[in-house]
Symmetry: C2
Subunit: 147 residues, 2 copies
Protein backbone atom coordinates (compact mmCIF):
# COMPACT_ATOMS: atom_id res chain seq x y z
CA UNK A 1 0.00 0.00 0.00
CA UNK A 2 1.32 3.38 -1.10
CA UNK A 3 1.21 6.48 1.12
CA UNK A 4 1.92 10.12 0.27
CA UNK A 5 5.43 9.78 1.75
CA UNK A 6 6.23 6.99 -0.73
CA UNK A 7 5.72 9.23 -3.76
CA UNK A 8 8.04 11.70 -5.48
CA UNK A 9 7.84 13.84 -8.61
CA UNK A 10 9.07 11.97 -11.69
CA UNK A 11 7.96 8.53 -10.51
CA UNK A 12 6.24 6.55 -13.24
CA UNK A 13 3.72 3.74 -13.19
CA UNK A 14 2.54 1.93 -16.29
CA UNK A 15 -0.13 -0.55 -17.37
CA UNK A 16 -1.59 -2.26 -20.40
CA UNK A 17 -1.61 -3.11 -23.21
CA UNK A 18 -5.29 -3.14 -24.18
CA UNK A 19 -6.36 -3.92 -27.72
CA UNK A 20 -9.20 -1.84 -29.11
CA UNK A 21 -11.56 -3.95 -31.20
CA UNK A 22 -14.20 -2.66 -33.58
CA UNK A 23 -16.78 -4.63 -31.58
CA UNK A 24 -15.81 -2.90 -28.33
CA UNK A 25 -15.90 0.54 -29.99
CA UNK A 26 -19.42 -0.06 -31.31
CA UNK A 27 -20.70 -1.66 -28.10
CA UNK A 28 -19.53 1.24 -25.90
CA UNK A 29 -20.86 3.80 -28.39
CA UNK A 30 -24.26 2.12 -28.67
CA UNK A 31 -24.70 2.42 -24.91
CA UNK A 32 -23.08 5.79 -24.12
CA UNK A 33 -22.17 7.78 -27.24
CA UNK A 34 -24.52 6.73 -30.06
CA UNK A 35 -23.16 8.90 -32.87
CA UNK A 36 -22.69 7.56 -36.42
CA UNK A 37 -18.89 8.12 -36.48
CA UNK A 38 -18.56 5.71 -33.54
CA UNK A 39 -21.01 3.14 -34.94
CA UNK A 40 -20.85 2.94 -38.73
CA UNK A 41 -17.67 2.71 -40.83
CA UNK A 42 -19.25 4.12 -44.00
CA UNK A 43 -20.74 7.18 -42.31
CA UNK A 44 -17.55 7.72 -40.29
CA UNK A 45 -15.45 7.71 -43.49
CA UNK A 46 -17.38 10.80 -44.68
CA UNK A 47 -17.08 12.74 -41.40
CA UNK A 48 -15.01 15.94 -41.89
CA UNK A 49 -13.17 15.52 -38.57
CA UNK A 50 -12.87 11.76 -38.02
CA UNK A 51 -12.60 10.39 -41.58
CA UNK A 52 -13.10 6.84 -40.34
CA UNK A 53 -14.43 4.89 -37.36
CA UNK A 54 -13.04 6.18 -34.07
CA UNK A 55 -13.62 5.21 -30.44
CA UNK A 56 -15.69 7.52 -28.28
CA UNK A 57 -13.37 9.67 -26.18
CA UNK A 58 -15.26 8.40 -23.14
CA UNK A 59 -14.50 4.84 -24.19
CA UNK A 60 -10.81 5.73 -24.32
CA UNK A 61 -11.19 7.36 -20.89
CA UNK A 62 -12.89 4.24 -19.51
CA UNK A 63 -10.16 1.95 -20.89
CA UNK A 64 -7.59 4.35 -19.40
CA UNK A 65 -9.29 4.09 -16.01
CA UNK A 66 -9.08 0.30 -16.13
CA UNK A 67 -5.33 0.65 -16.74
CA UNK A 68 -5.05 3.32 -14.05
CA UNK A 69 -6.48 0.88 -11.51
CA UNK A 70 -3.78 -1.61 -12.59
CA UNK A 71 -1.07 1.04 -12.31
CA UNK A 72 -2.14 3.01 -9.21
CA UNK A 73 -4.69 0.76 -7.48
CA UNK A 74 -2.20 0.12 -4.65
CA UNK A 75 -2.37 3.78 -3.58
CA UNK A 76 -3.70 3.86 -0.02
CA UNK A 77 -7.32 4.73 -0.73
CA UNK A 78 -7.36 3.40 -4.29
CA UNK A 79 -7.57 5.74 -7.26
CA UNK A 80 -9.65 8.65 -5.93
CA UNK A 81 -9.65 11.75 -8.09
CA UNK A 82 -11.71 14.93 -8.03
CA UNK A 83 -11.22 15.77 -11.68
CA UNK A 84 -8.75 17.46 -13.97
CA UNK A 85 -7.87 18.42 -17.50
CA UNK A 86 -8.85 15.78 -20.08
CA UNK A 87 -7.53 16.07 -23.64
CA UNK A 88 -8.16 13.78 -26.58
CA UNK A 89 -5.09 14.33 -28.68
CA UNK A 90 -5.55 11.83 -31.52
CA UNK A 91 -8.36 9.49 -32.60
CA UNK A 92 -8.33 5.89 -31.33
CA UNK A 93 -8.98 3.47 -34.20
CA UNK A 94 -10.05 -0.18 -34.41
CA UNK A 95 -6.97 -2.37 -34.01
CA UNK A 96 -5.03 0.16 -31.92
CA UNK A 97 -3.20 -1.13 -28.86
CA UNK A 98 -3.18 1.23 -25.91
CA UNK A 99 -1.00 1.50 -22.83
CA UNK A 100 -0.88 3.90 -19.90
CA UNK A 101 2.02 5.87 -18.46
CA UNK A 102 1.21 7.75 -15.24
CA UNK A 103 3.81 10.23 -14.00
CA UNK A 104 3.77 11.89 -10.58
CA UNK A 105 4.15 15.66 -11.01
CA UNK A 106 3.47 17.34 -7.66
CA UNK A 107 2.82 16.27 -4.08
CA UNK A 108 0.97 18.49 -1.62
CA UNK A 109 0.08 17.55 1.96
CA UNK A 110 -3.38 18.84 2.89
CA UNK A 111 -3.36 22.01 4.98
CA UNK A 112 -6.65 21.23 6.71
CA UNK A 113 -6.64 17.41 6.97
CA UNK A 114 -3.50 15.88 8.49
CA UNK A 115 -4.35 12.34 7.31
CA UNK A 116 -4.05 13.06 3.58
CA UNK A 117 -2.56 14.94 0.68
CA UNK A 118 -3.00 15.37 -3.05
CA UNK A 119 -0.83 14.08 -5.86
CA UNK A 120 -0.93 15.61 -9.31
CA UNK A 121 -0.57 12.82 -11.88
CA UNK A 122 -0.21 13.11 -15.65
CA UNK A 123 -2.00 10.06 -17.03
CA UNK A 124 -1.05 9.55 -20.68
CA UNK A 125 -2.54 6.91 -22.98
CA UNK A 126 -0.26 5.94 -25.87
CA UNK A 127 -0.95 3.86 -28.96
CA UNK A 128 1.21 1.22 -30.65
CA UNK A 129 3.20 3.99 -32.40
CA UNK A 130 3.97 5.59 -29.01
CA UNK A 131 1.76 8.56 -29.90
CA UNK A 132 -0.29 10.08 -27.11
CA UNK A 133 -4.00 9.68 -27.78
CA UNK A 134 -5.31 10.99 -24.45
CA UNK A 135 -3.83 12.92 -21.54
CA UNK A 136 -5.67 13.33 -18.23
CA UNK A 137 -3.96 15.47 -15.62
CA UNK A 138 -5.66 14.63 -12.36
CA UNK A 139 -5.24 15.39 -8.67
CA UNK A 140 -5.54 12.21 -6.60
CA UNK A 141 -6.28 11.97 -2.90
CA UNK A 142 -3.66 9.87 -1.08
CA UNK A 143 -3.45 9.07 2.66
CA UNK A 144 -0.40 9.98 4.74
CA UNK A 145 1.50 7.34 6.60
CA UNK A 146 -0.02 6.88 10.10
CA UNK A 147 2.24 8.46 12.75
Amino acid sequence: MIFLEDLAPGQRFSAGPVEVTVEAIKRFAAEYDPQPFHLDEAVAAEHPVFGGLAASGWHTAAMAMRMTVQALGHFGWGVVGGGGDLQWVRPVRPGDTLRLVAEVQEIAPSKSKPDRGSVLVRNAVLNQRDEEVQVFTVRLLVPRKPA
Copy 2:
Protein backbone atom coordinates in the same frame (compact mmCIF):
# COMPACT_ATOMS: atom_id res chain seq x y z
CA MET B 1 -29.00 20.95 -38.04
CA ILE B 2 -27.24 23.61 -35.98
CA PHE B 3 -24.43 25.79 -37.35
CA LEU B 4 -22.07 28.14 -35.55
CA GLU B 5 -24.23 31.12 -36.60
CA ASP B 6 -27.26 29.59 -34.81
CA LEU B 7 -25.54 29.67 -31.39
CA ALA B 8 -25.17 32.47 -28.84
CA PRO B 9 -23.74 32.70 -25.31
CA GLY B 10 -26.35 31.87 -22.68
CA GLN B 11 -28.28 29.38 -24.82
CA ARG B 12 -29.18 26.24 -22.90
CA PHE B 13 -29.91 22.69 -23.99
CA SER B 14 -31.05 19.98 -21.61
CA ALA B 15 -31.59 16.22 -21.52
CA GLY B 16 -32.46 13.38 -19.20
CA PRO B 17 -33.48 12.18 -16.74
CA VAL B 18 -31.45 9.00 -16.29
CA GLU B 19 -31.90 6.83 -13.22
CA VAL B 20 -28.73 5.37 -11.73
CA THR B 21 -29.28 1.81 -10.56
CA VAL B 22 -26.99 -0.18 -8.29
CA GLU B 23 -26.79 -2.82 -11.04
CA ALA B 24 -25.57 -0.26 -13.60
CA ILE B 25 -22.98 1.13 -11.16
CA LYS B 26 -21.54 -2.32 -10.51
CA ARG B 27 -21.66 -3.41 -14.15
CA PHE B 28 -19.74 -0.34 -15.36
CA ALA B 29 -17.25 -0.60 -12.52
CA ALA B 30 -16.62 -4.31 -13.11
CA GLU B 31 -15.61 -3.55 -16.70
CA TYR B 32 -13.78 -0.21 -16.42
CA ASP B 33 -13.15 0.83 -12.80
CA PRO B 34 -12.95 -2.31 -10.65
CA GLN B 35 -12.39 -0.73 -7.24
CA PRO B 36 -14.20 -1.97 -4.11
CA PHE B 37 -16.00 1.34 -3.42
CA HIS B 38 -17.74 1.00 -6.80
CA LEU B 39 -18.51 -2.71 -6.42
CA ASP B 40 -19.25 -3.64 -2.80
CA GLU B 41 -21.59 -1.77 -0.45
CA ALA B 42 -19.93 -3.04 2.75
CA VAL B 43 -16.39 -2.10 1.71
CA ALA B 44 -17.61 1.23 0.31
CA ALA B 45 -19.27 2.11 3.63
CA GLU B 46 -15.83 1.98 5.32
CA HIS B 47 -14.04 4.11 2.70
CA PRO B 48 -12.80 7.41 4.22
CA VAL B 49 -13.78 9.45 1.16
CA PHE B 50 -16.88 7.76 -0.27
CA GLY B 51 -18.59 6.34 2.84
CA GLY B 52 -20.94 4.25 0.70
CA LEU B 53 -21.33 2.87 -2.80
CA ALA B 54 -20.70 5.52 -5.47
CA ALA B 55 -20.67 5.42 -9.26
CA SER B 56 -17.33 5.60 -11.04
CA GLY B 57 -16.73 9.15 -12.21
CA TRP B 58 -16.22 7.70 -15.69
CA HIS B 59 -19.64 6.07 -15.48
CA THR B 60 -21.14 9.47 -14.67
CA ALA B 61 -19.18 10.92 -17.58
CA ALA B 62 -20.48 8.19 -19.91
CA MET B 63 -24.09 8.75 -18.81
CA ALA B 64 -23.52 12.48 -19.31
CA MET B 65 -22.28 11.84 -22.85
CA ARG B 66 -25.44 9.89 -23.65
CA MET B 67 -27.46 12.90 -22.49
CA THR B 68 -25.16 15.28 -24.38
CA VAL B 69 -25.94 13.43 -27.61
CA GLN B 70 -29.65 13.93 -26.85
CA ALA B 71 -29.11 17.62 -26.11
CA LEU B 72 -26.51 18.63 -28.73
CA GLY B 73 -26.59 15.81 -31.29
CA HIS B 74 -28.22 18.11 -33.83
CA PHE B 75 -25.07 20.27 -33.97
CA GLY B 76 -23.76 20.15 -37.56
CA TRP B 77 -21.00 17.58 -37.11
CA GLY B 78 -22.51 15.94 -34.03
CA VAL B 79 -20.88 16.31 -30.61
CA VAL B 80 -17.17 16.59 -31.44
CA GLY B 81 -14.96 17.78 -28.58
CA GLY B 82 -11.23 17.89 -28.13
CA GLY B 83 -11.30 17.84 -24.34
CA GLY B 84 -11.72 20.16 -21.40
CA ASP B 85 -11.92 20.51 -17.66
CA LEU B 86 -13.76 17.64 -15.98
CA GLN B 87 -14.78 17.96 -12.32
CA TRP B 88 -16.61 15.45 -10.14
CA VAL B 89 -18.24 17.69 -7.58
CA ARG B 90 -20.33 15.22 -5.55
CA PRO B 91 -20.67 11.43 -5.45
CA VAL B 92 -23.37 9.78 -7.56
CA ARG B 93 -25.29 7.21 -5.51
CA PRO B 94 -27.58 4.29 -6.35
CA GLY B 95 -31.10 5.64 -6.88
CA ASP B 96 -29.96 9.09 -8.00
CA THR B 97 -31.70 10.60 -11.02
CA LEU B 98 -29.44 12.67 -13.27
CA ARG B 99 -30.13 15.31 -15.88
CA LEU B 100 -27.92 17.45 -18.07
CA VAL B 101 -27.90 21.21 -18.60
CA ALA B 102 -25.51 22.42 -21.34
CA GLU B 103 -24.92 26.15 -21.57
CA VAL B 104 -23.14 27.90 -24.44
CA GLN B 105 -20.44 30.17 -23.04
CA GLU B 106 -18.25 31.41 -25.92
CA ILE B 107 -18.27 31.19 -29.70
CA ALA B 108 -15.11 31.56 -31.76
CA PRO B 109 -14.86 31.21 -35.55
CA SER B 110 -11.66 29.42 -36.57
CA LYS B 111 -8.89 31.71 -37.78
CA SER B 112 -7.34 29.09 -40.06
CA LYS B 113 -10.34 27.05 -41.25
CA PRO B 114 -13.24 29.08 -42.68
CA ASP B 115 -15.71 26.17 -42.56
CA ARG B 116 -15.76 25.85 -38.75
CA GLY B 117 -15.54 27.37 -35.30
CA SER B 118 -15.41 26.32 -31.68
CA VAL B 119 -18.08 26.62 -29.02
CA LEU B 120 -17.24 26.52 -25.33
CA VAL B 121 -20.00 24.63 -23.52
CA ARG B 122 -20.45 24.13 -19.78
CA ASN B 123 -22.00 20.69 -19.44
CA ALA B 124 -23.42 20.24 -15.95
CA VAL B 125 -24.93 17.03 -14.59
CA LEU B 126 -27.42 17.59 -11.75
CA ASN B 127 -29.06 15.10 -9.42
CA GLN B 128 -32.67 14.96 -8.15
CA ARG B 129 -31.86 17.63 -5.54
CA ASP B 130 -30.62 19.99 -8.31
CA GLU B 131 -27.07 19.64 -6.97
CA GLU B 132 -24.28 19.55 -9.54
CA VAL B 133 -22.47 16.21 -9.48
CA GLN B 134 -20.22 16.72 -12.51
CA VAL B 135 -19.19 19.68 -14.64
CA PHE B 136 -17.37 19.27 -17.95
CA THR B 137 -16.35 22.47 -19.71
CA VAL B 138 -15.58 21.46 -23.26
CA ARG B 139 -14.75 23.13 -26.56
CA LEU B 140 -16.85 21.65 -29.38
CA LEU B 141 -16.14 21.88 -33.10
CA VAL B 142 -19.13 23.25 -35.02
CA PRO B 143 -19.42 23.91 -38.78
CA ARG B 144 -20.24 27.36 -40.14
CA LYS B 145 -23.26 27.86 -42.38
CA PRO B 146 -22.27 27.28 -46.02
CA ALA B 147 -22.04 30.62 -47.88
